[in-house]
């Protein structure tokens, strides 16, 4: 079994497709939707996918065929250790506790595995240590 995070990008014409349903039904994936939005230029869906590695692979193939932009989320947000002062402003902002205060060192630790790329830490970080990796 594998657990992965994906950001799906939909063009406006794909917004009405029941893509998540297909992923559950045809590929037996457990899906946790972390963020979803629909805007003028289409939609974005951030989800965590839990299932057999081969099924996840097949599902990604299916999505590609549907012309859904699939990006695996790994280290979407990065922490600049030089810039970080370990104040900890970010820790009460991060909704998934990917940023935590380690004790007794009082150093801010960032766990990219937990990060859902919401970006809430980025404008909250006073020394500008948190950035989206483009």
């Amino acid at each position: 079994m594998a657990k992965k995070k994906f950001m799906l990008g939909f063009s406006p014409e794909l917004v009405n497709e029941a893509i998540v349903y297909r992923l559950v039904k045809d590929y037996d994936l457990k899906i946790n939707i972390l963020r979803a939005e629909v805007k003028e230029l289409g939609g974005r869906l951030l989800m965590e996918v839990d299932g057999k590695a081969s099924n996840i692979k097949d599902a990604a193939k299916y999505l590609n065929e549907c012309k859904v932009d699939v990006q695996e989320l790994a280290n979407y947000v990065e922490k600049n250790e030089e810039r970080c002062t370990h104040c900890g402003v970010c820790i009460s902002i991060c909704p998934v506790e990917a940023l935590t205060m380690e004790r007794p060192t009082w150093m801010v630790r960032y766990d990219p595995e937990k990060c859902i790329a919401c970006g809430m830490c980025i404008d909250a970080c006073p020394p500008g240590a948190m950035k989206f990796r483009i």
């Binding site: 002062t85 370990h86 402003v89 009460s92 009082w106």
Partner: protein, 388 residues
């Protein structure tokens, strides 16, 4: 037990001085008692590293050929105040770069200079008979300038209110990002390590006190602006913003590790500064004061969605609670964040301890005390007659 600053300095010279940080001394006093600890320990070092908006630098650029009396000055396009002598300027931490929505400001210029980077200086003038030049566009650095020193009107606040937000929208404040509906609480103090919380009545800290400032040796210049003594206390320590210091120190000896530009989204730029003050253990009362722990230090929680200078505290919470990561507000658990770095505060207290132990830093007696009785006034829209 009595001890003088002169005796402590002799022990520093002899290499016999016993120094502990304000954090280390807490368990020591708990196990040995105040009396024994006061006998054994000569100096307790403190530290803080946080946003201090009222900070800035006096710079002297040297004279150009032909000379100019600079009237409008920018450094990396950040305006500096030049309404003093010809090539002197003051750059404030919160001054923003010209143009809209800049995240670069005076604090960044200060950090860049301390990091050894060149900074673009542009100046214009109307020109005079003695200063004929009308403009200059060049680069300066810490090496090229005659003087470059931080002179900060308000640093190292004794204590400060924690912030939260009752409104429906996210607020971007100088206390950081405050999430809607009491979504979080931010605070800004090193608590048990903080300089002025360890000498709450400022018995040992006054004008001329030698301090650690941004990595350099600096001094207390004056009372800080908005210095006040009439604040409610608990265990003898103010429970809100009370005393603070005006500080001065040479930028050439500072390090970007302890001087860091910050940008608070929706607010602007400010300077995070590291300050450490050694407290001489003159007697048992002093030892008792420095052994205060976060459990006995309190801050009010205020609602920043109230856009008024009169914000009534929601409640008082201890720094132990704030530092635990969660406090209770209206029956709900709310996550907390610090705006000041406890890690850096600890490093500063440790560096200062080492400097004292190595004989590189000696203690001072205040040249003059800071005010013992000071309140803080407000600004009203008033007539000329009422202003007197």
């Amino acid at each position: 037990m009595k001890r003088t600053v002169a005796e402590i300095n002799q022990r520093i010279k002899d290499g016999d001085v016993v120094v502990m940080t304000a954090e280390e001394v807490i368990p020591y006093v708990q196990s040995e008692g105040v009396e024994r600890a006061a006998k054994e320990v000569d100096v307790v070092t403190t530290g803080t590293f946080g946003a201090m908006c009222s900070s800035g630098a006096f710079l002297n650029f040297g004279h150009s050929e032909p000379p100019i009396r600079m009237q409008r000055v920018t450094l990396n396009d950040v305006p500096a105040y030049a309404g003093i002598a010809a090539v002197d300027a003051y750059i404030g931490a919160t001054e923003l770069k010209q143009g809209d929505h800049s995240e670069y400001g005076g604090a960044h210029v200060i950090e860049d200079l301390i990091a050894g980077k060149p900074v673009r200086l542009k100046a214009t003038s109307n020109g005079t008979d003695c200063y004929p030049r009308k403009d200059i566009d060049t680069y300066v650095s810490l090496n090229s300038m005659n003087q470059a020193y931080l002179f900060n009107p308000r640093n190292a606040y004794q204590n400060y209110a924690a912030g939260t937000n009752s409104s429906e929208r996210t607020l971007f404040t100088y206390m950081g990002k405050l999430l809607p509906s009491y979504g979080n609480v931010t605070y800004s103090s090193a608590g048990q390590l903080s300089p002025l919380l360890n000498d709450p009545t400022m018995r040992t800290i006054g004008i001329g006190t030698r301090i650690f400032l941004g990595g350099a040796t600096g001094y207390v210049a004056w009372e800080g602006t908005q210095f006040r003594t009439n604040v409610e206390t608990s265990f003898g320590v103010p429970m809100g913003a009370a005393r603070n210091l005006a500080t001065i120190g040479d930028m050439r000896d500072m390090s970007p590790d302890f001087v860091r530009a910050l940008y608070l989204h929706g607010y602007g730029t400010t300077l995070a500064l590291g300050i450490g003050i050694p407290i001489p253990i003159l007697d048992e009362d002093m030892m008792k004061a420095v052994s205060v722990s976060d459990e006995h230090l309190f801050a009010p929680v205020v609602d920043y969605s109230v856009q008024s200078r009169n914000r009534r505290p929601i409640k008082q919470v201890s720094y132990a609670e704030l530092r635990s990561g969660r406090i209770e507000l209206f029956g709900k658990e709310v996550r907390t964040s610090s705006l000041s770095s406890y890690l850096k505060a600890r490093q500063i207290a440790e560096v200062l301890s080492e400097r004292i132990e190595n004989g590189e830093f000696t203690l001072t007696e205040p040249v003059a005390p800071l005010p013992q009785d000071r309140s803080q006034g407000t600004l009203e829209v008033r007539s000329k007659e009422d202003a007197i």
